[in-house]
Amino acid sequence: MTLTAYLRIVGLGLVFRLREFAVSRWFIQMATVQPIVFASIAFYLFHAGGRPGTLLYAALGAGMMGIWSSTLFGSGGALQWNRMQGTLELLVAAPPPFLVVLLPLTLATSITGAYAIVATLVWGRIFFGVPLHFVHPLAFALAVPIAVVALGLMGLLMATSFVLYRNANALANFLEYPVWVVTGLLFPVALLPGWVAPISWLLAPKWGIDAIRNAALGGAVWRPLGLCVLTGAAYLVLAAIFSGIFERRARAEATRSLT
């Protein structure tokens, strides 16, 4: 198969998955209600404390939390749903590499999650008077899609390893809060013990939110954005390596279709 064929699969797969998720109440809830709840909690806390100026900071962080949740549960859940419906074997057995089949799915989960940023900004503006003034609007417009794609690639890396586990959902349930904590989505990583920072450097949401926040509130945008691209690319390479290994292992251990 040619590169054009792969791109066509990714493109068509992306459109198909986006349309599928756009009518899923569960995804809409994950990408709107949940971030709005967390954003509201953060708004009230920051209002009550000495940080009313950080409302935009909270809105963006809560939005990124929604993207992560959508990617995490989408990537973990989608495999589990296909496994339950008996279609996972068909996806794996299809002629294109499994990675190419999986990529549009994980990208669609993070793109659907991007509703969260819109939701938290609109919610914050209407109900909490969050100022929507962006210091570098063009950089902001660039940083958001790059962060979303990087998270989609992170979802791809997770999904390739989730193939191996029958209980991928449980792992997804566990990973939601730790990544919110470690990547500093609502509070700086500097508040946490020193050993947490190096872990955060490996995670695209940390660079994504740094780039988005710096674009919105002022600060260096290009370095975190570059690191976000770099971590995303690293996830893609690792996913390509792992998908082959894990797929073979899942076949050998017969763990792919077991629910």
Binding site: W26, Q34, S40, G49, R51, N173
Partner: protein, 264 residues
Amino acid sequence: MNSTNFRVFGIGGLIAYRGLFNWIRPRIYIPTMLGAPLFQIIFFTYLGKYAETGQSADFFIVGNAVQVCSMSAVYGMTMAIANERQFGTLGPLLASPASRIAIFLGRGVPVLANGLVVSAFGFIVGAALLGFRPGLSSLPALALITVVTAASCTCFGMVLGSIGLRGKDFFFVANLAYYLLLLFCGINVPLSTMPEWMRVVGDCLPLTHGVAAARHVAAGESLQSVAGLAGTEAVIGIAYAATGYLMFRLLETASRRAGAMDTF
């Protein structure tokens, strides 16, 4: 309650739990029911610290340690009733002559026990990692309030589970309920800083009074001083249990009439 009803309540509830939650293994339970609450407590404690609200870490630790019981209460109770329909066992269950109230309430006991385990773990995490140090003398009262609050949440879960008897997207409702409890019940945001209408909603939900009582007790106050709050929490729980049971019976009748018991 006669001995048959008691058996349906106790043994029936336990067997139903084992059947409906047969997929629970340590590798699922630990990350979901212990791992997620652990990081929830850490997340909100650090968020509170960063926001400089003036609240101590204990405010967030106690609030979240009590609230995490609702994970079992809301999702567990929803599944304990609604999954009968998904597994195709609702028809035989409701065709049996067993007391409905014994069936209904029996399902809540294992869910309640599970919620208590999760909350206890939350307090242990708070003590081990975040410096939560309640006085030893306050522990029995704290435990009692946690039991009352977890029971009240379980009763709230009964209402959600009853919706699942007929509703299609019951997980959607359960998810929504879980997040609204987090927002409206003063778990992380002091009720005094929220608008009046949110306080009114919060007052009608489980957790609000129980969490407030737990905070007072953890700060060293006596059980007597929070008897009003704990009593209100218990009354709210009873009201939800009654509402849930009423809905269960109404939806059972409606399902029979529409021939829609096992349909989606």
